[in-house]
Amino acid sequence: MANVFIFPTTSLILSDLVARFGHTPLSAAMQIREIVQTPGLESPPLQITPEDPKKGLRWAAVEVPAGVRGRMSLYGPLLDRAEAAIIVNNADFSFGCMGCARTNELLMFLIRKKGIPVLDLEYPANEEEGVEFVAAIKRFLDSLPGGRA
């Protein structure tokens, strides 16, 4: 069973398919859960405190804006654990503010730099593409350590 980073990190489809085919999806929810279940000082809505941009320095340089470093403190630990990644490009709902956009770019760069197996896709637009999309994900996951190949 491999830890598979998914992008968009909140994707229902990717999270479900990775778990369905026997691996662990690394999604944003796991990090959010850890943060909201840790006691500390109240900092709604996501319990992100001034400490988090400092933690983000592990993945982003000091001159990178705090918004990107704060987000990286959330995604960075997932990236460290990732043994493979599935990326759906040009997803409408991963569009966000400049902080999100730059964090997404940095994430893509770090994933590729890590040298792990990566599957690059786009969302299907019809049934035929859906069949190929699922088949490609299954084939990719089966080829990973602990896969069913």
Binding site: P8, T10, S11, L12, I13, S15, D16, L17, A19, P25, S27, A28, A29, M30, Q31, I32, R33, I35, V36, Q37, T38, P39, G40, L41, E42, S43, P44, P45, L46, Q47, N89, N90, A91, D92, F93, D120, L121, E122, Y123, P124, A125, N126, E127, E129, G130, V131, E132, F133, V134, A135, A136, I137, K138, R139
Partner: protein, 152 residues
């Protein structure tokens, strides 16, 4: 700043989405209540939220998924149900994150079709999924040439 005491520590919450011609969220909720054994089940317009100890939640989800495997989808949720920081009862408007679900729920019928077609597919059939278009980028050497030609 106030001290923060988290609620429902040590639990996991998972969303169960159903997009099936044969099953509604309330059918799914009734099945979930039957086997819940103390696990918190919350029925929603798209399916359920299940909150409890990880092994109990996984047990319930495995049983629910077996009812309609190609039309039931599951993902993790960070916040517990009804959390005032996320619940739309407190915020007004759609819950943050709902738009992502709305977008992907429009596509899950294609995924369901893909899942039902998998068993009939030959293992050596090479998939041809939709992939991002590769755009030709300007070569750095060519850019340098252009800059040089402008300077002279």
């Amino acid at each position: 700043m106030k001290a923060y005491t988290p609620l429902l520590t040590g639990t996991v919450t998972k969303y169960v989405f159903v997009e099936s011609p044969e099953m509604t969220p309330s059918d799914l909720a009734i099945r979930a209540y039957e086997i819940s054994q103390g696990v918190m089940i919350k029925e929603t317009c798209f399916g359920l939220q299940v909150t409890g100890r990880e092994e109990d939640v996984n047990r319930i989800i495995d049983s629910l998924r077996a009812l309609d495997p190609t039309h039931i989808f599951v993902k993790d949720r960070g916040f517990p149900p009804g959390d005032p920081r996320r619940c739309r009862a407190n915020l007004g408007g759609a819950r943050p994150g709902y738009f992502g679900h709305e977008f992907e729920m429009g596509l899950v019928r294609f995924i369901s079709r893909g899942l039902s077609a998998l068993p009939s597919r030959r293992p050596d059939d090479m998939p041809r999924p939709p992939v991002p278009e590769k755009r030709e980028r300007l070569d750095a050497a060519r850019l340098k040439e252009i800059i040089g030609s402008q300077e002279s």
